[in-house]
């Protein structure tokens, strides 16, 4: 692969634009989706169909007083929101958007993505801890226990995909699934893998909802119990960065799900594969995230942990064993 300066610059600017547009307008999608699900209209006064709403919110958040309360840990309090954004944008560098579009085709891209996801969790911990607010600390502790609990089944299901594809490179995994939906990892009619791979997909999707702190698993910002969770003390763009980080995490989660299970840029019918199919897939997944959030009520923290430790981890272990056995048999 050629490594010219222009290529790196182009990808840098392109990924930043992609991240910025998504972080801003997914908020609009969420508000509009929530409104439609609740039989409301949603934002409609700011621009056509409320499309200028993110600009208004951004202007307001940027021009609001950036308040650093007394008794907070100054440096960590300021660094934590930035730390929520950076890993999400960085992990976009290794995502293959199509066969030819992808900033870096690293050998260990799956590992890199999960390492960066853990840094995103640390930003919540630091933000909550530096605030010096008891609700924020409770929220940070909850968030860490949730992330720990859900990373285990998530990685176990990723191992099944890696076993089948024989590669830990996202691009290789996507290339391995080309040629129609029956080649995708979620169905995988080629060998006996269709027996277990849909279970992997369901476990992975539940875990990615939990990893991105979305309802029904948004224990970190349960406003009926914890005011606003780890961002209770954040005003202005500190709060804005946390929100944008959350949306970017959703985008990365959807990209990862589409690449690992839904064939990446592959067309379901074996025609015109390309970046448009990837975009269709990730936005369908993101819509599912929004749909789940506004349909299910928030669960409780001990039920959340029980779901992971008592159900998802045993199931994903068994799933891994059966998949490995199937690979040996067929």
């Amino acid at each position: 692969m050629e490594t010219s300066m222009w290529r790196a610059l182009l990808y840098l600017v392109g990924l930043l634009i992609f991240a910025g547009v998504n972080a801003a307008w997914l908020g609009w999608c969420e508000r509009k989706g929530a409104a439609r699900i609740q039989r409301r209209i949603g934002p409609c006064e700011a621009g056509f169909a409320g499309l200028l709403q993110p600009l208004a919110d951004g202007l307001k958040l940027m021009s609001k007083q950036l308040l650093v309360p007394q008794g907070v840990d100054g440096i960590i309090f300021r660094v934590a929101p930035v730390l929520a954004m950076i890993p999400a944008i960085t992990s976009m560098a290794v995502i293959p958007f199509s066969e030819n579009i992808g900033a870096r085709a690293m050998e260990l891209s799956v590992l890199l993505l999960f390492a960066l996801a853990s840094i995103g969790m640390i930003s919540i911990l630091l933000g909550g801890w530096a605030s010096g607010n008891k609700y924020a600390i409770i929220s940070a502790a909850r968030s860490v226990s949730q992330s720990l609990a859900y990373e285990i089944p998530m990685l176990l299901t990723v191992i099944t995909v890696v076993l089948i594809s024989g590669s830990i490179n996202l691009r290789e995994i996507a290339i391995d699934q080309q040629g129609g939906f029956w080649h995708w990892n979620i169905f995988r009619l080629k060998n006996g893998h269709f027996l277990t791979m849909w279970i992997s997909f369901i476990i992975f999707f539940i875990c990615s909802v939990a990893e991105t702190n979305r309802a029904p698993f948004d224990m970190a910002e349960a406003e009926s119990e914890l005011v606003a969770g780890f961002m209770t003390e954040y005003s202005s763009m500190g709060f804005g960065l946390f929100m944008m980080g959350e949306y970017l995490n959703i985008v990365v989660g959807a990209c990862l799900t589409a690449t690992l299970f839904l064939g990446g840029w592959d067309c379901p019918f074996g025609l015109t594969p390309g970046v448009w199919w990837f975009v269709v897939k990730i936005y369908a997944l993101i819509f599912t995230f929004i749909w789940i959030r506004w349909t299910y009520p928030r669960t409780q923290i001990y039920r959340l942990l029980n779901l992971s430790w008592k159900i998802l981890i045993p199931f994903s272990m068994a799933n891994l064993l059966v998949t490995a056995a199937l690979i040996k048999v067929f």
């Binding site: 409609c44 409320g50 600009l55 202007l59 307001k60 609001k64 005011v227 606003a228």
Partner: protein, 165 residues
């Protein structure tokens, strides 16, 4: 309560200020709190029939640090006085207050001789931008209050004013 003296800044950015005010007026995030029965009407305004989200104001933030407008919806009792005052002080600038309902305006039916437990009006505690009369005001009145607050921020009214009669 004395007048609040805000010194004008030395350098003026007229167009930028207009743009920022337009942004602020279109995303007035209220604080999630209700004091009495007016809060029921406030919740109804967020519901599907009246839909406060059309004006970008449906993001009820639970933390005062992230909210722009405080809708004082209901009677302020003496016991709650300190809590409400603290919430106002915790909001970062720029911030606005809407006094919703007769109790928040003046104490309403509780402004009687020998009143011992009700604060007679939210403006005894902090400056109020918009007063919405009614006991309780209908959701349309709260929407009108939001539009009036937008008019106060930008200097322009969103829709032409409707005169009764």
């Amino acid at each position: 309560m004395g007048e609040e003296n805000v010194p004008a800044s030395i350098v003026q950015f007229a167009q930028l200020d207009k743009l920022l005010n337009l942004g602020r007026a279109n995303s007035l995030w209220p604080m999630t709190f209700g004091l009495a029965c007016c809060a029921i009407e406030m919740m109804c305004t967020g519901g599907s029939r009246f839909d406060i989200s059309r004006f970008g104001a449906e993001v009820f933030r639970p933390s005062p640090r992230q909210s722009d407008v405080m809708i004082v919806a209901g009677t302020i009792n003496k016991k709650l006085e300190l809590a409400v005052k603290t919430l106002y002080d915790q909001m970062p600038e720029p911030k606005w207050v809407i006094a919703m309902g007769n109790c928040a305006i003046s104490g309403g039916p509780f402004k009687v001789k020998g009143n011992y437990n009700v604060v007679e009006g939210a403006d005894k505690l902090f400056p109020v931008d918009v007063y919405i009369p009614g006991c309780p005001p209908r959701p349309e009145a709260l929407l009108e209050g939001i539009i009036t607050l937008e008019e106060k921020i930008t200097g322009k009214r969103r829709w032409p004013r409707v005169h009764p009669g």
